[in-house]
């Protein structure tokens, strides 16, 4: 039997954590369950009835050619955004990670787009991409290259979105890499030096292995972030032209709030959740391993 004092503590515990848990239940867990339910009914928001249709919504979504283009877009966007961010970020971090003056100023400047609103960044870049009066054209014209119609050409819209996304998020990768580089014990470098390892060998055998957990963390969290990227796409291209920059999250938004198709929106939400869940589990597994062996 718990003592009255203990019971008093239990009550206080529930009072303190209850509101937070209740909000989670209503606005996070319930929507997840409800999305599963929606994916099995046919429901236009404007109609009162929701007939159960089994797997019809799944069949409809998966059999449309459009959907697979959108899945491809999502992965192309994730792959190039994350790849470029990780590689350019690593190069910058390695170069800046020296006792240089103004090093922290450079870090702060690089980080500043990360805290800007994606919407305003996209607005600014829609001017930069303007094929006649934009900033990029000013660099292309002297070279005799005609600026592509970045945002209205289906071949260039995705590269444009990727450029803006990388520009906005590069500083995050640099900050994380720099923190990781400082976490590599100095003694390892000294030991390698004593063993006669040159700068290149030290990079391959000390820096890269030392950074690999950080790089892994960055790649998973960055991929997860690209799956959630909405504001830049909405403002820059509105998912277009045609569907060239429509990703799964954008598709979910369109199905739900433009075509009012709750069932198919439910399917896309479930698919998106599954993909992200697998990624998160991989990450947790990996982190656990690191704790066990590291």
């Amino acid at each position: 039997m718990p003592s009255p004092r203990e019971r008093h503590e239990w009550l206080l515990f529930v009072l303190l954590i209850g509101p937070n848990l209740a909000l989670f239940a209503v606005f996070t867990y319930w929507p997840l369950i409800y999305n599963f339910y929606l994916s099995f009914v046919r429901w236009n928001f404007l109609r009162p009835t929701k007939p159960f249709v089994g797997l019809d919504n799944y069949a409809n979504v998966f059999s449309s050619a459009q959907f697979w283009t959108i899945v491809t877009n999502t992965f192309v966007f994730a792959f190039f955004s994350v790849g470029l961010t990780l590689i350019i970020g690593l190069a910058l971090a390695l170069l800046i990670n020296q006792p240089l003056r103004y090093r922290n100023t450079a870090r702060a400047v690089l980080f500043s787009p990360v805290i800007m609103s994606g919407a305003v960044v996209a607005v600014v870049w829609s001017y930069i991409f303007d094929p006649r009066y934009g900033l990029i054209d000013q660099f292309l014209r002297p070279l005799g290259i005609a600026s592509p119609n970045w945002l209205s050409d289906p071949a260039w819209a995705m590269p444009a979105v990727i450029i803006v996304y990388v520009w906005k998020n590069l500083g995050y990768a640099v900050v994380i890499y720099l923190a990781g580089l400082q976490g590599i014990p100095r003694e390892l470098y000294e030991a390698a030096r004593v063993d006669g390892a040159g700068p290149w060998a030290r990079f391959w055998h000390v820096t890269l292995p030392g950074l690999s957990p950080i790089a892994f963390f960055l790649s998973v969290t960055s991929v997860l972030a690209t799956f959630q990227a909405f504001d830049i796409i909405k403002v820059l291209t509105d998912g277009g032209p045609v569907i060239s920059t429509t990703t799964l999250i954008y598709h979910l938004y369109t199905l739900g709030f433009v075509s009012y198709d709750a069932g198919q929106a439910g399917v896309v939400a479930v698919v998106l959740f599954m993909i992200m869940l697998v990624l998160t589990i991989i990450q947790i597994r990996y982190l656990e391993q690191r704790v066990n062996y590291g």
Binding site: L16, F27, I96, Q98, I115, A119, A179, P199
Partner: protein, 293 residues
């Protein structure tokens, strides 16, 4: 603050043999810094000069790199083209309200998890953390229905409350609370201090850096939030700044870039000022979170 940070970096032993190499390394380091500043700075500079140009000058080829007759006209036109005053008020209310709610919920939850007894407390913590696996973007349709049923469409409550629950912040603060010296809290308890006293006079003051970091991250996220406020607001007088600049671009873009860039600066400048002032908390907080994993 810049200087103190440098001491963290151990300097490699300099011998004659690698002194030359070190110079080359430093040269490339400065080059990288210059490139980084150029990469970020140029688009921002381009925005600023456009905001100060007369409209004819914006559509001049080749462009001018310094405004010929700097003018504030674009700023007043942007301010009048959209209800920016109202956007600011809405953004302030939803950002401060949302952040305050998050900080309060995180502090209370973390205190309970760190200091109170409860059967299977670990399970409760796990339920909370599992919320991190469900991205808010996939909840938009059901949440819109819920908020509609509550009658919160196009209200501040509708913007703030669905994202008020806090998992990561609770996790961060719980870590910080558990790291506090146990003897201090025990001593206060022996002296007869209740939970409220302990929370207000010991736990909160002693974990201030963690709370500030958590609050700043929430602040930035709320201020920039786009998808949910876009869905849940229907009238111009309820829009927040990110939604407002999006509409301004849609109505004035291409034909009036100067006005749109002036409007963009309404958003960029306050955030940059706060960031320059508090960047240490934000950058270090993010870096620390990642390295500790």
């Amino acid at each position: 603050m810049t200087v103190r940070d440098e001491t963290i970096l151990a300097r490699p032993v300099v011998t004659k043999a690698n002194k030359g190499l070190l110079h080359v390394q430093r040269f490339f380091g400065y080059l990288a810094m210059a490139l980084a500043i150029f990469l970020v700075g140029l688009p921002v500079y381009w925005t600023i000069i456009a905001a100060f140009k007369e409209s004819a000058e914006i559509y001049r080829i080749p462009p001018t790199w310094v405004p010929l007759n700097p003018t504030f006209e674009n700023f007043s036109r942007a301010w009048n083209a959209a209800p920016f005053g109202r956007y600011y008020i809405n953004s302030f209310i939803t950002t401060l309200g949302g952040t305050l709610a998050k900080v309060l919920l995180a502090v209370l939850s973390a205190y309970a998890l760190a200091f109170l007894r409860f059967p299977r407390k670990d399970l409760v913590f796990l339920v909370l953390l599992a919320g991190l696996m469900i991205p808010p973007e996939i909840t938009i349709v059901p949440n819109y229905l819920t908020v509609g049923r509550l009658g919160w469409i196009n209200t501040y409550a509708g913007i703030i409350i669905p994202s008020a629950a806090v998992a990561y912040g609770t996790f961060l603060l719980r870590q910080a609370f558990l790291a506090l010296p146990f003897e201090v809290i025990e001593a206060a308890r022996v002296d007869g201090a209740g939970h409220v006293r302990i929370l207000l006079s010991i736990v909160i003051p002693m974990s201030q850096p963690a709370i500030v970091t958590m609050a700043l991250l929430a602040l930035v996220a709320r201020w920039n939030d786009f998808l949910w406020p876009l869905l849940v607001t229907h009238t111009s007088d309820m829009r927040t700044l990110p939604i407002g600049i999006f509409w301004l671009r849609n109505s004035e873009g291409v034909i009036n870039w100067g006005v749109v860039m002036a409007g963009s600066l309404f958003l960029i400048v306050p955030v940059l000022l706060v960031f320059l002032w508090l960047q240490r908390y934000i950058v270090e907080g993010i870096a620390a979170g990642a390295v500790k994993g």
